[in-house]
């Protein structure tokens, strides 16, 4: 199955600033997914990132707040913009493992963001 390197693993940021999270996959994948996991909550999909096109955002998430780049088939970034304490959460990227992984998703190790 794919291996994902996600960084940073954690950060403490001042409100009003932005943080960019990077995910590097060791193989080419069509779609990459960005999730948020708030304390005690389920993983919530933020957006789906396709290479060469704009990301598709889920209800409640907008591009101005969470801009995503997908410059090639192995890399994506998620930026959390103009942060507030409510953005404190774990952010995860993932890919669909496909048939080789019995269609399970592979996740990065997550970025634990604290906004102060």
């Amino acid at each position: 199955s794919a291996v994902i390197s996600q960084k940073p693993s954690r950060d403490i940021c001042q409100r009003g600033t932005s943080l960019t999270i990077q995910c590097q996959v060791d193989s080419q994948v069509t779609m990459m997914f960005w999730y948020r996991q708030q304390p005690g909550q389920s993983l919530t999909l933020i957006a789906t990132a396709n290479q060469g096109s704009e990301a598709t955002y889920e209800s409640g998430f907008v591009i101005d707040k969470f801009p995503i780049s997908r410059p090639n088939l192995t890399f994506s970034t998620l930026t959390v913009s103009n942060m507030s304490p409510e953005d404190s959460s774990i952010y995860l990227c993932s890919v669909d493992g496909g048939r080789a992984s019995n269609y399970g998703y592979t996740f990065g190790s997550g970025t634990r963001l604290t906004v102060v």
């Binding site: 909550q41 993932s94 992984s101 997550g110 634990r112």
Partner: protein, 112 residues
């Protein structure tokens, strides 16, 4: 709206016993259901997938059942070990290409 329910309370069991976790869903007709394990500070790790036309799936000490009439999946770990202590998430997917919808997960604690 779609809803996935997993026991919010932690499940405490003794080593060697069988752990059974429940995933119930409403307002959803999933084509498949997946189970993941998540350790603190880590991303979820895929364990098993079961399709809507499958009643049961096994992998080593793991067994998953899927009852589309009851809208429920049961996840069993036999001969549980302290190393099995983690949070277990269920996730549902629709036919064709679709994104997953996750439950909140249930924490399992296996004591020696």
């Amino acid at each position: 709206s779609q809803k996935i329910e997993q026991n919010s309370e932690a499940l405490n069991i003794q080593e060697g016993k069988t752990a059974t976790l429940t995933c119930n869903y409403t307002n959803y007709s999933p084509a498949y259901l997946q189970w993941y394990r998540q350790d603190p500070g880590r991303g979820p790790v895929f364990l098993l997938l079961i399709r809507e036309n499958e009643k049961e799936k096994r992998k080593e000490r793991l067994k998953v059942t899927f009852d589309t009439t009851l809208k429920q999946s049961l996840f069993h770990i036999t001969a549980s070990q302290p190393a099995d202590s983690a949070t277990y998430l269920c996730a549902l997917g629709s036919s064709g290409y679709s994104t997953l919808t996750f439950g909140k997960g249930t924490m399992l604690l296996v004591s020696p």
